[in-house]
């Protein structure tokens, strides 16, 4: 699997009523202080129905408070290839998405008003060429993804549901009974101490 355009969405547990202007302010504060990736701009799309409400545009990846599927969450959208094999890229994408969630949970402007749940995840391969929405892609992706999910859920069970609509991108809905926090999950990935 050569795909590298990976999207991961973690849904908000708390903070669904946070105003778009607030997310806008928060993302703007990220741009000057982020050094490990290039963040460029913040776009407000709160006027569209069920779309990317507030979008932080980066070079390597975009981050958005997203409502595309009618539920609000943090969507991590990897655009440039990261180093390593597909499993490495998968793990890196999950870690980046988790770090962004953690950053929002601890953001001083939000003052603890936002938190994320990890028991329900949207996973998308945003590349119809390298990852067509097919059973073959599912077969190719599943083993590597399951390894990452085993770590995310610390061995607890999870279900993977494939949305096979041919007009859509390859997308999986992942559900687990595991209710681990973002901070704890990051520790499992050795991403924070």
């Amino acid at each position: 699997m050569n795909a590298y355009r990976i999207q991961i969405k973690f849904y908000l547990e708390r903070g669904q009523d946070i105003a778009p202007e607030t997310w806008f302010r928060v993302f703007n504060t990220w741009i000057p202080v982020t050094t490990d990736e290039v963040l460029v701009d913040v776009a407000d799309y709160s006027h569209v129905h069920d779309g990317p409400v507030t979008l932080l545009v980066g070079h390597e990846a975009n981050y958005s408070i997203d409502r595309s599927d009618g539920r609000t969450g943090l969507l991590y959208d990897r655009k440039q290839a990261s180093n390593g094999s597909f499993p490495d890229r998968l793990k890196a994408a999950f870690v980046s998405a988790l770090k962004a969630c953690r950053r929002l949970e601890t953001d001083p402007i939000l003052a603890g008003s936002a938190s994320f749940r990890l028991d329900d995840v949207l996973f998308v391969l945003n590349d119809r060429l390298l990852a067509p929405n097919s059973v073959e892609t599912l077969v190719a992706v599943r083993p590597d993804l399951e390894q990452v999910l085993a770590k995310l859920y610390n061995g607890a069970g999870f279900d993977i549901e494939h949305d096979s609509d041919p007009g859509r991108r390859f997308a999986l809905r992942i559900r687990s009974g595991c209710r681990a926090s973002v901070a704890l999950s990051l520790r499992r990935f050795d991403a924070i101490s």
Partner: protein, 751 residues
């Protein structure tokens, strides 16, 4: 799994050869730029001519609220134009001639927005679609995928003929003279990539309208505006156009001038071509601010301009394309999907009546309606786009158009289907009423993404939309039909000059701070094809513009005389009274009292104009010869690639083509109509460039490089060997270098 394939390969059987070749060329030019084998200015104009546009912060700098920070893109020094960083995300403009779209095209646009942009499609005031935050390395794939559904981005930007626009009701309008769609389509196709439209000093815009009195075509604000008219000739009805030239908005708006009261349909394309030639030859090239056609006409006078065009028209070689389309004007006629049926008192959902009142237009054809899908700020998501494609398959037959008011219309909806269609639009959040009302605010991208933007036109538009939509049905009928249009700067992309209430972004210094303002422009006329322009009334802080709208509206409701129009009302009360009315709104409270005035709508940073950059609407002026020589270099590069792949015959032939084209480019500087055939090109090259001594200034090399071409032209190759192809590519490179040097000398002589 298709891991080793490319979009080009996957879509090979669906991409028309011509469109595929265009994208191949652009992909090669990208490679050449990365290898520093193509000048950054030439590349900038090259990419602009493919619709690949710069965006705010593409100089690698951004104001973060207190400091200007450097954005450290990984591409380092690589640029895609002067002071334009390679990695900086950019805008892709996609030309949609006359706004006409199919369901399949909507599907592909939705996919592209998802995979290369931000899941948002933006409909522009010229019926284009724009995607933002696109990486230049993704653009060839994006273009192959567009080509697979018949869309080209060619000449979407740059100094070219831009998207040809037309009234979105053409063909179904109750008051049109005739359907202008086939003419707009033919004009767009004819001038796309036309040799005579490649050497402009600025962009060139064309619009068609089916009638004189409505707004839809906005013919009066275009370089060419063609309004459908008929005339009786020997008892038969003859089609033609009231033909306007030299209109334009921008910082200095010009009303178009009547070029011909009745231009017969068969003269539409040749006269447009003749105008292109005169504009290319005599239009300003150095002073970008005065390079549009309107300035040329102002300088020459309309009569002299007409004389020059008429003379040019006489000497142009005949082209069968001028009239070929006229024999089959109905080839693309639309057909409804469903039979016409009246609404018949069906049970309808809440909101339907109001939506029908503002968003449904009864067609000329009984039982059918045009439905306007209102797009807030011209935006819709990928999911909405895909859903709209499905709705169009369910209710109409690929009869979709983007409008200059940044909406989308579905035509040929059977009236009986309206309730069901409305319910389906509710499901996807596209059921907003108010199309064509004061709440349907139009705005250019402004500071959101445009490098020239001064103030946030979209931020203001969003605020006004929200406030005016709140009033909804309670709004006084007198103001409901007014138009609000907003530009982020004086360049008028938001078309503020032709709005009842227009605004354009400016800034003012207040106690050491830069404060976002908008200039208030009142009384422009949208109808009558943008019949008149508004008057500037003064600058008001951005945050007080909603108060301006409220106050002016109330004043009009209370003060108008009977059926007095808004334009007449503003004219009657005069600028002095308007200024007095707005006087207290011009004040800016100190920062310490209310800091919100020092931030723009939809932005949390302290306002600055430091993020502005050099705009790309003006393109880069690259002389035609230089542009064509650059193209020859690209051909020579492709020949090298063929050689590397062991295709010696292709390599040789490609190199020969490059050499002939380089010769042609030089000849063209003296003889615009040089034909395509190599015999004539070589002969003309010998006479005009070699025998006159122009090619060589060095006695040692005298004749040497020209002989490479002459030998190759005479040569009959029996076997194409690696050695032959290799040597010939070397000679081609030297020939192109000599051509560049020659062109440089010609330039010195001529200047």
């Amino acid at each position: 799994m298709s891991e080793s394939t490319t979009w080009k390969e996957v879509l090979a059987d669906r991409i028309p050869d011509e469109l595929g070749r265009e994208v191949d060329i652009f992909a090669t030019q990208i490679e050449l730029r990365k290898q520093d084998k193509i000048d950054d200015t030439v590349f900038a104009e090259t990419r602009l001519r493919r619709g690949v546009y710069g965006q705010r912060y593409d100089n690698g700098k951004r104001f973060d609220g207190s400091n200007t920070q450097v954005l450290e893109f990984p591409s380092g020094d690589l640029v895609k134009g002067p002071d334009t960083v390679w990695d900086a995300p950019g805008m892709q403009r996609i030309k949609i001639p006359f706004g006409g779209l199919t369901a399949d095209q909507l599907d592909v646009l939705a996919e592209l927005a998802e995979e290369y942009s931000d899941c948002i499609l933006h409909v522009t005031t010229r019926q284009d679609v724009q995607l933002h935050y696109v990486h230049i390395d993704d653009t060839p794939d994006l273009m192959y995928r567009l080509a697979s559904v018949g869309i080209t981005t060619r000449e979407a930007c740059g100094n070219t003929v831009r998207n040809v626009t037309a009234c979105p009701l053409s063909g179904v309008c109750r008051t049109e003279t005739f359907d202008v769609t086939p003419y707009a389509r033919a004009c767009s196709k004819f001038l796309l990539g036309h040799n005579d439209a490649q050497d402009f000093g600025r962009k060139f815009k064309i619009a068609f309208s089916g009638c004189e009195h409505e707004a839809c075509g906005l013919a009066n604000m275009h370089d060419i505006g063609a309004i459908a008219v008929t005339r009786s000739v020997n008892g038969a009805e003859k089609r033609g156009f009231r033909f306007y030239v030299g209109g334009g908005l921008g910082a200095v708006p010009h009303q178009a001038k009547l070029f011909e009261d009745f231009l017969p349909e068969e003269e539409l394309l040749p006269v447009s071509q003749a105008i292109s030639r005169v504009f290319a030859r005599l239009g300003e090239k150095r002073n970008r601010a005065r390079a549009r056609l309107k300035f040329l006409i102002a300088r020459l006078g309309l009569e002299e301009f007409k004389r020059l065009v008429t003379e040019e028209r006489k000497v142009m070689p005949d082209d069968p394309e001028w009239t070929a389309y006229l024999s089959d004007l109905h080839a693309y006629d639309e057909k409804p999907l469903k039979i016409a049926q009246p609404l018949n008192g069906a049970v309808v959902a809440g909101g339907f009546e109001e939506w029908t009142r503002t968003n449904v237009y009864r067609q000329r054809q009984d039982g059918y309606a045009v439905v306007t899908v209102t797009l807030p700020l011209g935006d819709l998501t990928s999911d909405q786009t895909r859903a709209l494609a499905e709705l169009s398959r369910r209710f109409v037959n690929d009869t979709i158009r983007a409008t200059v008011e940044q909406n989308i219309v579905l035509r040929w909806v059977s009236e009986a289907d309206l309730p069901e269609l409305y319910n389906a639009l509710v499901e996807i959040g596209l059921n907003e009423p108010g199309a064509g009302t004061i709440a349907d605010v139009t705005a250019c991208p402004g500071t959101d993404t445009c490098k020239l933007g001064i103030a946030s036109s979209r931020g203001l538009a969003a605020e006004l939309r929200w406030r005016l939509a709140e009033k909804g049905v309670e709004m006084d009928a007198a103001v409901e039909g007014l138009r609000i249009k907003i530009s982020g700067c004086f360049n008028s992309c938001g078309q503020h000059h032709v709005a009842d209430l227009g605004f354009y972004g400016i800034s003012r210094k207040v106690s050491g701070y830069t404060v976002p303002h908008f200039q208030v422009v009142l009384g422009g006329q949208w109808t009558g094809n943008a019949a008149s322009f508004g008057l500037a009334m003064g600058a008001v802080p951005s945050k007080r513009i909603p108060d301006v709208v409220a106050r002016i509206s109330e004043s009009y409701i209370e003060g108008r005389e009977e059926e007095e129009s808004f334009q007449d009302y503003i004219r009657r009360i005069g600028k002095v009274q308007v200024k007095r009315m707005l006087d207290d709104l011009t004040e800016v409270p100190p920062y310490e009292i209310d800091s919100s005035f020092y931030m723009d709508w939809g932005d949390s940073r302290v306002f600055t104009t430091g993020d502005m950059g050099k705009g790309e609407c003006a393109g880069e002026v690259v002389p035609l010869v230089q542009f064509e020589l650059s193209s020859c270099e690209r051909e020579a590069f492709e020949a090298q690639v063929q050689l590397d792949n062991g295709h010696y015959e292709s390599a040789y032939k490609q190199a020969y083509s490059a050499m002939v084209h380089a010769a042609k480019a030089l000849v063209k500087s003296q003889f615009l109509d040089v034909p395509e055939d190599p015999d004539t090109i070589v002969s003309e090259f010998r006479t005009r460039i070699v025998d006159t001594g122009l090619l060589h200034d060095n006695p040692v090399t005298r004749g040497k490089f020209a002989n490479y071409l002459f030998h190759a032209h005479r040569r009959n190759v029996d076997a194409y060997s690696e050695d032959l192809a290799h040597r010939f590519i070397e000679e081609t490179q030297l020939f192109i270098e000599a051509a560049y040097a020659c062109y440089g000398r010609m330039n010195v002589v001529s200047s």
